[in-house]
Amino acid sequence: MKLKFLEEKLFKILMTGAMLTVLAFVVSIIYSILTKGWGAMSWDMILKLPGGGFYIGKEGGFLNAIVGSVYIVGISTLLGLLISIPVVFYLNIYLKRRSQIAYIARIAYDVLFGIPSIVYGAFGFTIMIYFGLKTSLLGGIIVITLLIIPIFIRSMDEVARQFPREILDASYSLGATRLETIRVVLRQIAPGIATATLLSVGRAIGDAASVMFTAGYTDSIPTSLSQPAATLPLAVFFQLSSPIKEVQDRAYAAALVLTLIVLLLSVLGRYITNRFSKHKLK
């Protein structure tokens, strides 16, 4: 009997330990970014474009990277949603529970999910060469969209599979077609869509490997889809590889901005999720 309680205690300690360790990671990452980046942080950094000699420590900022990231991630997320919602809807509403096609499709999406982002980058690069495109905003958007679609599908599908069949029957018995039922489905899986969006944005905004060859890097803000665009992860990467300490600190400032954007999005995402889940049938 006593052993049981001891066991319970031991595992409780282990679990608490694991939880605190992960928490410590988060805190230490934020701490190191803050201490190193805060000194280099200024309004100039986030409001100005890089001036001449920015990369050897002279004046300017990385507005180009912020805007480039926002462009790419924003448009890709929209495209991703537009493509993956129909996929999830079709998989779960149109196809039967034990459909072979659905099974194969899901495996295929799982494979896509596991492909590293550098492969997406290389793949995108090959296609761009084939079509004679240069590194551009468009290239970045396409590759990031490809990168996040599996995330969207996976996480929305997970929610949609739990979709109560009774709701479908209720909708059908009112004379709704399957397509009309999408209104009901979307409302029910809205929290899932919010979570999926959050995960995708987090992945998309932080990914350096896929945009390196496709979106390129530039010191100006792109004004058309065919111009190259800078991104925050690459801003961090390039500045961090500089031997000059000031420039390295600026990399941390860029990392700080990146982290803040992700943090802001997750808080926003949680808020939206809560708002949208009020109608959800438990």
Binding site: L168, D169, L174, G175, E180, V184, H279, K280
Partner: protein, 292 residues
């Protein structure tokens, strides 16, 4: 649906009467917009030689039935005897059951339900309001739940929708309880209220039949009594087919009773006769509680 219009112009006695529109004319403001109503006095549902198989299992065997108009027909029988499957065949929800095969005929005013397809099914499902065992509000507000069906069938004018919603919430005896919170999520209602909401939602697409699949078995006694009373009122305008496990409930409200056992109709007829003078041995056994 002339009877429907006639019912509207009659003086209203009871407060909870389904169609107590304040000025007596409300209904006319939205009804002509409906696409499907036909001026038929009678509607009838006839089942002929119906067989249903689900994955090689013979669920319904040679069913022959006639469901009378504007009466409450109770289907009773032990669990697993195919009662719910029968209801599902009536509104073609059987389509979403995997591996189901249906043969025979189910005739609604002469149109075969079993062989209908495409737009006919949509039309047909509208004619058959289904109320399930567990109330299943759609994930939206109370107002939108009722308006959903109307919107699908083409009513978009907000003013009209408001009238429709009020009308049918009154018909389901729910209006007074929810009129101040039409925009709150439907799932916050109590389970009894949810069931009445589902009833109102079904009525809002103007069915001829109400199919209730053990509609009161998940409810508390008071809520289920409310639903029963509603059914008794609604049978003036609708034909109600209900599956029930509680014999006492069938005894209270049924006009007709169908007794099913292992996929076959053993006995059917007016409630009074079936309950008092059952012809078949199995019916007698079931009624006396030998099996349930």
């Amino acid at each position: 649906m002339k009877h429907f219009f006639q019912a509207l112009s009659l003086p209203v006695k009871s407060r909870a009467y389904p169609f107590n529109a304040p000025d007596g004319k409300v209904a006319n403001l939205f009804r002509p917009d409906r696409k499907f109503h036909r001026d038929e006095e009678e509607s009838e549902l006839v089942v002929r030689d119906l067989n249903v198989y689900i994955k090689e299992q013979h669920i319904l065997k040679e069913i022959n039935l006639a469901i009378p108009d504007k009466k409450i027909t109770c289907i009773v029988g032990p669990s697993g005897c195919g009662k719910s499957t029968l209801l599902k065949t009536f509104n073609r929800l059987i389509d979403s059951v995997e591996g189901a095969r249906v043969s025979g005929k189910v005739l609604l005013n002469g149109t075969d339900i079993v062989s209908s397809s495409g737009p006919e099914i949509i039309h047909l499902r509208r004619e058959m309001g289904l109320i399930s065992q567990k109330p299943c509000p759609l994930p939206m507000s109370i107002f939108d739940n009722i308006a959903y069906g109307c919107r699908i069938h083409g009513i978009r004018n907000r003013k009209k929708l408001r009238l429709v919603v009020r009308h049918y919430l009154e018909a389901a005896g729910l209006w007074e309880e929810v009129q101040d919170r039409l925009n709150t999520p439907a799932i916050r209602l109590s389970i009894g209220q949810q069931q009445r909401l589902c009833l109102a939602r079904s009525l809002a697409v103007e069915p001829r039949f109400i199919l209730a699949d053990e509609a009161t078995s998940a409810l508390d006694p008071i809520s289920s009594k409310t639903i029963e009373e509603l059914f008794v009122k609604l049978k003036q305008n609708y034909s109600i087919v209900m599956v029930t496990h509680t014999l006492r409930q069938a005894l209270r409200i049924a006009d007709n009773v169908i007794f099913m056992y292992l996929g076959e109709v053993i006995e059917s007829g007016p409630a009074e006769r079936v309950f008092n003078r059952p012809e078949h041995k199995l019916t007698r056994k079931y009624l006396s509680g030998v099996f349930s």
